[in-house]
Symmetry: C2
Subunit: 418 residues, 2 copies
Amino acid sequence: MDVNQYMQQLGQQARASATAMARASTDNKNKALIAIASDIEQQREALHQANAADLDNGKTKGLDDAPLDRLELTDARIDTMIEGLHQVASLADPVGEITDLSRRPSGIQVGKMRVPLGVIGIIYESRPNVTIEAASLCLKSGNATILRGGSEAIASNRMLAGCIRNGLAATGLPVDAVQVVETTDRAAVGQLITMPEYVDVIMPRGGKGLIERISAEAKVTVIKHLDGICHVFIDEHADSAKAVNIAINAKTHRYGTCNTMETLLIHRAVANELLPELASAYGSLGVELRGCDASRAIVNDMLAATDADWDTEYLAPILSVRVVDSIDQAIEHINRHGSHHTDSIVSENYTNTQRFLMEVDSSSVMINASTRFADGFEYGLGAEIGISTDKIHARGPVGLDGLTSQKYVVLGNGEVRK
Amino acid sequence: MDVNQYMQQLGQQARASATAMARASTDNKNKALIAIASDIEQQREALHQANAADLDNGKTKGLDDAPLDRLELTDARIDTMIEGLHQVASLADPVGEITDLSRRPSGIQVGKMRVPLGVIGIIYESRPNVTIEAASLCLKSGNATILRGGSEAIASNRMLAGCIRNGLAATGLPVDAVQVVETTDRAAVGQLITMPEYVDVIMPRGGKGLIERISAEAKVTVIKHLDGICHVFIDEHADSAKAVNIAINAKTHRYGTCNTMETLLIHRAVANELLPELASAYGSLGVELRGCDASRAIVNDMLAATDADWDTEYLAPILSVRVVDSIDQAIEHINRHGSHHTDSIVSENYTNTQRFLMEVDSSSVMINASTRFADGFEYGLGAEIGISTDKIHARGPVGLDGLTSQKYVVLGNGEVRK
């Protein structure tokens, strides 16, 4: 069978499983999640062996330390996968929730019911723990899933696929409700993203290049997270202590995360007071500053920012700094250079905070809080399959609700249109 | 300027206007809608002249009566456009609505704010009244819009575009917030649907062929309505009077609408009792019946349905009829042959109604009500830009809310991530 036929077969099987998944009981889905967790525990040794084979191949291929680290399934990571499955089992089931039910003049009651999306394709890099994370959230939300992990993790993913099938089979759910693509042929991705008859939505997780390529070629809706160029704007009416705390935390709490601040905007009226203190704090934490001319006039040893800096996601201890003349300029900068991910204003001025909230076009907009809070767990979603920087369907952290949509339900008593 | 450059210019202007539209006050948007209505009233004669030119050209081109009728702007239709603008002005503004605001353990409050999508591209056929309908809903929901109507309506649409610009200018809103494509070059559509940098979502209105073509070629999310193959299922536990009323109304209230029933499914246990009565009622209303073998064994003069009938949207006084053995078979038939638009069960059995509600994968699922209720006005949306048979973002009738999305808002008091 060629790879396109193989993918079509996976698609057909996923579509066929989606109906049973949509009507699966919460209890059955939870039991399947627990059964998968048990199976992973039982197969821990076999999983280590499969993962060791992946790691050996990766080393032979000359993978760097960072990807090798992401590829490794340590006992701690296996424990986390098992805990994650139990945690997803403990979350409320979004499927079937009816909201906004109201009676219309005709007599009918109209409301909305939350239902699974159908078949979700997930494309990700060589991190086998994502296989379980993604599978568990899609399963709980009643979707069928096709998982396409990085080729370096193929042996680990095959083992995990077996655990998932065992768990599904043990609870009477269709074993094809979660399928792992078991070929490393790159054509599999091309086929997966162009089968709207079998796949309802694609969620890629990985580098910006991968996601842009998938978006350009997909014939299916892609819920995507491109990059996180996040800003903190210190307004002229900022509380100084809050401003410093938030600016330091948003940059230095973690450097490699998408909700880390990459550019600090500061109002000219408070730049003289706050920039030296901030520069000193950043300096002592090893953060390199790259500033506009006005910033460098205040903090002389700052490097000069280039045009490219405003559009760069550093994911590193580097911060660009710009002095702005007004909140308008700050909002304009963010909407132009940001990635519509997460941006925060520090201000005590009511009108400015409300304008920022309304006018900044990002998936998370904050007042007096660190951008690092943009996270499914911090938002109370219980879990997160990713963060969407799209505008359609789901924005921001995507939890179980983001894996569902709402259909209309009409409850009548024999009503007809007059 | 070539057509691609022209469309890119419209795109840039739309994108530039979208920011101002997103923060426009409700009052300003309402005033603009009223001003557009006044301008249409003032230019009624010029509008008739432009429309007469379109009609003349249409006749010369050999258009049939039906498209010529859709193209015509009678005084009644102009009145309806004017009333529509006033009505949209009276609707609640969805932009800025904050919901689900709750406090998290960290101290931050997290909620969702409704915001415009940005730039919406609308592609439709030669019905100039759609220009005003679509423009008014997009304007009220704070979006910028690019409208591409059928080429036969170009003179009428140019006039209406002028009225819209005058109304926007009179209230200080950006005049490029609503732009009508003023070329009939077909390449304009191809460009419009492949500019994700300027257009956030495409909503085509028209025939299935047009929409399928657009979906296949678009590089932007398409919110689409393909067809309306709607079902009524008369369960074995149906109330006979409700069943007959609903089955007659769903088919015969109007024949050409997408929420009209095209296939009647009836449980074998009640087919002998109800089918003859229904056949007689349909017969007296001039509806042609095409049945399965079991149906024809009960009503002998029914035509035989072919396989193609189950997949056909007649939009005509024709109904296909199938006897099913169980609710499972009914649900299976609907999910396989339907268009995920609107389907209704007639039943007094609690479990069957709940199963139907959960398991039928359509944008509107009904119990004991006519499918004809699937409509933005009947659902209380106030207005409707179309009905989505998609699963992503918006399902069913799309009103002002469907032209917005929700971003996360975080209200803090200096909180940082620990």
